[in-house]
């Protein structure tokens, strides 16, 4: 267990504490000389707000049938913590763009 001694973690803390470090709201794992950065990951967006041109509330079945989309992280993005935009400008723009293009009821 000596390999996981506390002093193997402190290098990350000391770097994050330095004035040269510009990381913001980053999450870092550290232990035993291993270091990694964690990101948020958002899947490809699933849109289920219209059917045959009519805007309606999404159904649970839309979610069930959208599993492939919701599991598609290659088609998603990475929200950024601390930037005040819900980290989701691209996805939100897509939602609003999608709603705008949908016909009014």
């Amino acid at each position: 267990m000596q390999r996981l001694s506390p002093d193997k973690v402190s290098a990350m803390v000391v770097w994050l504490a330095h004035q040269d470090c510009q990381a913001e709201a980053s999450i870092h794992e550290a232990g035993g000389g291993y270091f990694a950065r964690l990101n948020w990951a958002r899947s490809a967006p699933l849109f289920a707000t219209e059917k045959e041109g009519v805007t309606e509330a999404p159904l649970p079945e839309n979610i069930r049938d959208g599993e492939a989309t919701l599991a598609d992280f290659a088609g998603g993005d990475h929200p950024i913590s601390g930037d005040g935009s819900m980290g989701a400008p691209n996805a939100l723009e897509q939602v609003f763009g999608h709603l705008k293009s949908a016909p009014e009821q």
Binding site: S5, M12, L16, A17, Q19, E24, I27
Partner: protein, 234 residues
């Protein structure tokens, strides 16, 4: 490779009497930082007498290593007292390493509201309290570095109160970073996830999720006590 130095800066490391906090304090001091070693001196589950002895030991160690350190014994639940001590003693505060924490190793079925609240009070509200006090100092200096200590327990490890508190500090740090960006100041808040198991605290973690039922049936105490030599304070 130029060394990373902290000459002229002051760091507060909470829960620095043992384990991770002690290691952070020593490395910062070795790089020229003046360090305030904060530790209540209680047991790893937050109980027991608060003697401050462990903080004194780390201060003596740092001084023997040629560094500059002072001790503080206040609870992170009283962040203003800690920060007031730091600024009165050293005149500034550049770095806050929020490391103090307690772990009460009850499995879910044994977790009480009292234990849940005590864990949240120290691990989450303690960071709130310290950062609430440190923030005006950071803003006045237009500079600050804040690190919060999360845990792999947030991925799910059989310690619900601890995990909730350690997930909570992520949201808190993100929010502080948002505030700093709003103010356009050189204040950075970041999050550390150290290993869940190091030194001999694996014994304690085994009890959280993997203790054989025979051990519990044998009447083995489930609440942590001072008998643990495990450096869970972080």
């Amino acid at each position: 490779m130029n060394d990373l130095r902290f000459d002229g800066q002051v760091a507060l490391v909470t829960g620095a009497g043992r384990g991770l906090g002690r290691a952070h304090a020593r490395l910062l001091a070795a790089r020229g930082c003046t360090v305030v070693v904060n530790d209540l001196g209680s047991a790893f589950d937050g109980t027991g007498s608060a003697t401050g002895r462990v903080a004194d030991e780390v201060v003596a160690l740092i001084q023997a290593e040629g560094g500059n350190a002072t001790a503080n014994y206040d609870s992170v639940e009283n962040g203003q007292a800690i920060v007031d001590d730091v600024t009165a003693t050293h005149g500034r505060l550049d770095i806050v390493i929020n490391n103090a924490g307690i772990l009460t190793p009850e499995v879910w079925s044994e977790l009480t509201l009292e234990s849940w609240q005590r864990t949240l009070n120290v691990n989450l509200t303690g960071v709130f309290s310290v950062m609430k006090a440190a923030w005006p100092v950071f803003v006045a200096q237009q500079y600050g570095r804040c690190i919060v200590t999360s845990s792999p327990a947030v991925y799910g490890a059989g310690v619900a109160a601890y995990a909730a508190s350690k997930a909570g500090v992520i949201g808190l740090a993100n929010s502080l970073q948002f505030e700093a960006k709003k103010l356009k100041l050189d204040i950075k808040c970041n999050i550390l996830i150290p290993p869940s198991r190091y030194s001999d605290d694996s014994r304690l973690w085994r009890r959280c999720g993997r203790a054989p039922s025979s051990a519990r049936q044998a009447g083995r105490p489930q609440g942590a006590s001072g008998s643990h030599a495990a450096p869970v304070t972080r």
